[in-house]
């Protein structure tokens, strides 16, 4: 067993020892007596049984005494429970969310994390909630367990006397990967804790002027996609340097390789050259986009996803996927798990259950991906269960980043 580091849990252990002591005593007593009688009153040693029908006093005795004893046991157990349930005022609050099959801890600063990090000697109050089905927050080292029920707010608390790392388990059966719903409680010194909390804050405060973000900010993505598919306008993913057929206003046609100058023209004066087969729908961004942002966009379009600039967006997407628990069900290596693998998902044709029954083929474009995350039950891919919880509470920013990250792993990403 773990050395005990939580004061209320010490009471639990004490209650346990008291019950154990009583149990060992009674087991030895009853078993010993039974074996002794078996030997002593074996019919060879004791051929004639005595004529005893009972003894009312003995029976009263062994009804009343156990009753008194169990009342005592009840009381120790109950008071240790009480200690576990009495949450001290002013405890540090952390929100803990359980979902299939990962954890999310949210701190008062807004920082989120998949592991629980807390300072030593500080009472911590956990506000427990569940996204999909019932889970149970269990830290054996703290003797602490409490269910997380969808639609219900529950709480629990603990306080650790010593730094260390402890296991956190999900103790309520929640489906396929119930046993993988394991994470870590890390108890650190207050300084370390502060540093850890800051470290998170920096990441989220970092300027996120990445290419996709810029495209999003100026509404480009309302019409274009980055995943190779076509929206209202042509796809924008990986177009830098590639050839394009153009139609000029006078009807003549040309072909050119997209370069920075062309891209600038396409944004600032879109009607001047139209991509073949597309109509003149895009308006001019002249004066709408500050120069440095335009530069960012153009260089992003030129270099595609895998640039130094785009990388943070990717990393952020991956980080969010990790935090939101997507990776509990999806892989990034092409093997399907509970859900389809993210690799090669975007841009592929998906067979989904149609509302009217049967299946229908859909292209996994940005819209499709977004809908799959926000309202997964509406688009069930063939061969998979309707097991994905809805992530409709993601902020638009995070959703966008997530989808872009998915798009970056699109089908033709490696060609």
């Amino acid at each position: 067993m773990y050395a005990q580091v939580f004061s209320a849990a010490k009471e639990v252990d004490q209650a346990f020892l008291i019950i154990l002591g009583f149990s060992v005593f009674i087991m030895v007593f009853v078993t010993g007596l039974m074996l002794w009688f078996l030997y002593r009153y074996h019919h060879k040693r004791h051929p004639v049984a005595a004529d005893i029908e009972g003894n009312i006093w003995a029976e009263i005795l062994w009804t009343v005494i156990p009753t008194i004893i169990v009342m005592g046991l009840f009381w120790t157990g109950w008071s240790s429970f009480k200690a576990m349930r009495t949450i001290p005022e002013g405890a540090m609050v952390v929100q803990a969310e359980g979902r299939m099959w990962s954890w999310k801890f949210t701190y008062e600063t807004g920082k989120t994390s998949e592991i629980l990090v807390v300072p030593v000697d500080t009472p911590v109050k956990l506000e427990l909630s569940a996204k999909d089905v019932i889970h149970s927050f269990y830290v054996p080292a703290m003797r602490l367990k409490w269910d997380m029920v969808p639609g219900m707010d529950t709480d629990a608390w603990f306080e650790s006397d010593a730094p260390g790392e402890f296991d956190i388990f999900c103790a309520e059966y929640c489906g396929l990967k119930h046993s993988n719903m394991v994470t870590t409680l890390r108890v650190v010194s207050p300084e370390e804790f502060q540093a850890w909390l800051q470290e998170g804050a920096q990441v989220s405060a970092a300027p996120m002027l990445t290419g996709p973000e810029l495209l999003d900010r100026y509404g480009c993505l309302d019409c274009h996609t980055l995943d190779g598919s076509e929206g209202v306008g042509p796809g924008l993913g990986k177009i830098g340097g590639k050839e394009v057929s153009l139609v000029l206003p006078d009807g003549t046609r040309t072909r050119l390789a997209r370069d920075e100058a062309y891209l600038r023209r396409a944004i600032l004066d879109p009607s001047a050259e139209l991509v073949k087969d597309w109509e003149d729908l895009m308006f001019s961004y002249d004066g709408e986009i500050p120069e440095e942002d335009l530069e960012g966009i153009v260089s992003f379009l030129m270099t595609g996803q895998v640039t130094a600039e785009a990388a943070p967006a990717m990393l952020l997407g991956q980080k969010i996927a990790d935090e939101e628990g997507c990776l509990a069900c999806h892989t990034t290596d092409g093997t399907d798990d509970v859900g389809p693998s993210f690799k090669g998902l975007a841009g592929s044709m998906r067979r989904v259950d149609a509302a009217a029954g049967g299946t229908q083929e859909l292209l996994a474009d940005i819209l499709y991906l977004t809908e799959s995350i926000v309202n997964p039950s509406a688009l069930i891919s063939e061969g998979f269960d309707d097991g994905m919880p809805s992530f409709e509470n993601l902020t638009p920013d995070r959703l966008k980043l997530l989808v872009e990250w998915l798009a970056s792993m699109r089908k033709d990403a490696d060609e």
Binding site: M1, E11, V12, A15, F16, I19, F22, S23, M27, V30, T31, L33, M34, F37, L38, Y41, H42, H43, H46, V48, A49, A50, D51, I52, E53, G54, N55, A58, W62, T63, P66, V70, L73, F74, G77, W78, S80, F81, K82, A83, D132, S136, P140, K145, D147, P150, G151, M152, D167, F169, A171, Y173, G175, L176, H178, S179, N180, D385, D386, G387
Partner: protein, 541 residues
């Protein structure tokens, strides 16, 4: 080897054709035998599933199967064992055969209803097993079918739950039948205080069956409605409450554990006096404690929900009541032990199984105190500690009760005797194997290993291995025991009508008993454990 028809008793052909004379029989003894065979077969299925689960737990990560399979296996293991084996086991099999005999009756009160119950049992079982091969595959919810998971999983939960619903009805009707039988069909002179304790156990059990099972029925129906129509009674998004489901489920399923154990306690109370050659110690107290368990046992259900988020006051009340309900069991254990005092003990196999029962049941029952105490339950709830607890009480209790009953009534049913040395050896192997299998689970639970875990952290490996090895020893004991009984049935030595020199009415009949039981209605003049009235030859005077 030919046996004269007269010796075959109720096994003798009735002239209606073999299948018809069994499947549509109204004879309580035949119905009991049908139950016994079915239960034993399902028991085989359950054991294999249990052993597979143990094999998987031999190493962390995948050993022989994937997580979906494992989850289905422990669910089916639990459902089979609970609903198909242990709940019907003693009442439906031995209760049917011996209750009317012990009462001196011709049959149960409603023989056709009895046959109907058996058919419901078979249909329910068939439906439950159909869920394996149809729809979305074997259910993976655990035998508790907790919502919301059971409402969202795509596996074939609806069909399995429907099977459970029908099985519940079978159980209700059996209980109802027994209550009326005991009230109406006792032989002249068989007053309530001369009723064998086995019959008393069945009586208490029957009341639990009648009162608690309907709640299971409605709960099962609600799950089906929830899945099929999206009703939303337990869905928080639609104004429902998942915790209510847990209440409804345990309102039945806690009393169900007493449906499992009280008949076994009845068997033990019948056996011990016979082999101690001495009246039971405190007959009335034992009767009272059976009724007390039946009554108080229906008030403690929420001890399965201490950490579910219900109010602290509820936790206190239910913890308190749980401790109260442990007292009648303790009283029984003390009374059994005292019955041995100053007896003339014959350590025959049924007694060895009965003593094994007392030891193992106590081991399980006493850990129930750790679970009933709210603070410690917070730590061990839903860990292997609970798994250890209920296997000790169910297998050590009901299982050993069943084994004891099989060895005790074997000569009455077959007219023959098994090899007693082998029987005793198998009992001892089983006791050892059982401790090897389940004791490590207590330690695992205390260290924090959650149950229903397909995979586990390396620190749990040693104890898991120990437990798996224990399961093999148990298997050896089981195989030895059953093969010995099977051999005894065919080749065992013939013994008289009353080889144990017992004093209850079934032993006054020939073995196997004839179809119409008693030629003339017996008149009872003494208590069930009054051996003074037996002549040395063992026949009643």
């Amino acid at each position: 080897m030919t046996v004269a028809p007269a010796d075959k008793g109720f096994f003798a052909p009735t002239g209606k054709g073999f299948l018809r004379s069994w499947l549509f029989t109204h004879d309580h003894k035949r119905i009991g035998m049908l139950y016994l065979w079915c239960i034993l077969s399902f028991f085989g299925v359950g054991v294999v599933l249990g052993l597979l689960a143990r094999l998987e737990m031999l190493t962390p990560g995948a050993t022989i199967m994937g997580p979906q399979t494992y989850n289905a296996i422990f669910t089916l293991h639990g459902v089979t064992m609970v609903f198909l084996v242990v709940i019907p086991s003693i009442p439906a099999a031995f209760g049917n055969i011996f209750l009317p005999l012990q009462l001196g009756a011709e049959d149960v009160a409603f023989p056709r209803l009895n046959m109907f119950s058996w058919w419901l049992y078979i249909i329910g079982a068939a439906i439950a097993l159909t869920s394996l091969f149809t729809g979305g595959g074997a259910p993976d919810t655990g035998w508790t079918f907790y919502v919301p998971f059971s409402a969202v999983t795509t596996t074939n939960v609806s069909v399995a739950v429907l099977g459970v619903f029908i099985l519940g009805f079978s159980s209700i009707l059996t209980g109802l039948n027994f209550i009326v039988t005991i009230h109406r069909l006792r032989a002249p002179g068989l007053t309530w205080t001369r009723l064998p304790l086995f019959a008393w156990g069945l009586y208490a059990t029957a009341w639990i069956q009648v009162l608690a099972t309907p709640i299971l029925g409605i709960t099962a129906l609600l799950i089906v409605v929830e899945r099929v129509m999206g009703m939303g009674i337990f869905d928080p998004a639609k104004g429902g409450d998942p915790i209510l489901y847990q209440h409804l489920f345990w309102i039945y399923s806690h009393p169900a554990v007493y449906i499992m154990i009280v008949p076994a306690m009845g068997v033990i109370s019948d056996i011990i006096p016979v082999f101690a050659r001495k009246n039971i110690f405190g007959y009335k107290t034992i009767v009272g404690s059976s009724l007390a368990i039946a009554f108080a046992g229906s008030l403690v259900w929420a001890h399965h929900m201490f950490v579910s988020g219900m109010s602290d006051t509820a936790v206190m009340i239910f913890s308190f009541l749980t401790f109260v309900v442990a007292v009648p069991s303790a009283v029984k254990v003390f009374n059994w032990t005292s019955t041995l005092y100053k007896g003339a003990i014959r350590p025959e196999p049924p007694l060895i199984f009965a003593l094994g029962f007392i030891f193992l049941f106590s081991m399980g029952g006493i850990t129930g105190l750790v679970l009933g105490s709210a603070g410690t339950d917070m730590h061990v709830h839903d860990t292997y500690f609970v798994v250890g607890h209920f296997h000790y009480v169910i297998f050590g209790g009901t299982g050993f009760g069943m084994f004891a009953a099989m060895h005790y009534w074997f000569p009455k049913i077959t007219g023959r005797m098994y090899n007693k040395t082998i029987a005793t050896t198998s009992a001892i192997i089983l006791i050892i194997g059982m401790n090897g299998l389940y004791f490590p689970m207590y330690l695992l639970g205390l260290q924090g290993m959650p149950r229903r875990y397909y995979d586990y952290l390396p620190q749990f490996t040693n104890l898991q291995v120990a437990s798996t090895v224990g399961s093999w020893v148990t298997l050896i004991g089981l195989v030895l025991m059953f093969s010995n009984l099977a051999r005894g049935w065919k080749h065992g030595q013939k013994v008289g009508d009353n080889p144990w020199e017992a004093a209850t009415l079934e032993w006054t009949l020939p073995s196997p008993p004839p179809t119409n039981n008693f030629d003339q209605e017996p008149v009872v003049t003494h208590g069930p454990y009054d051996f003074k009235h037996l002549s040395p030859g063992g026949t009643d005077q």
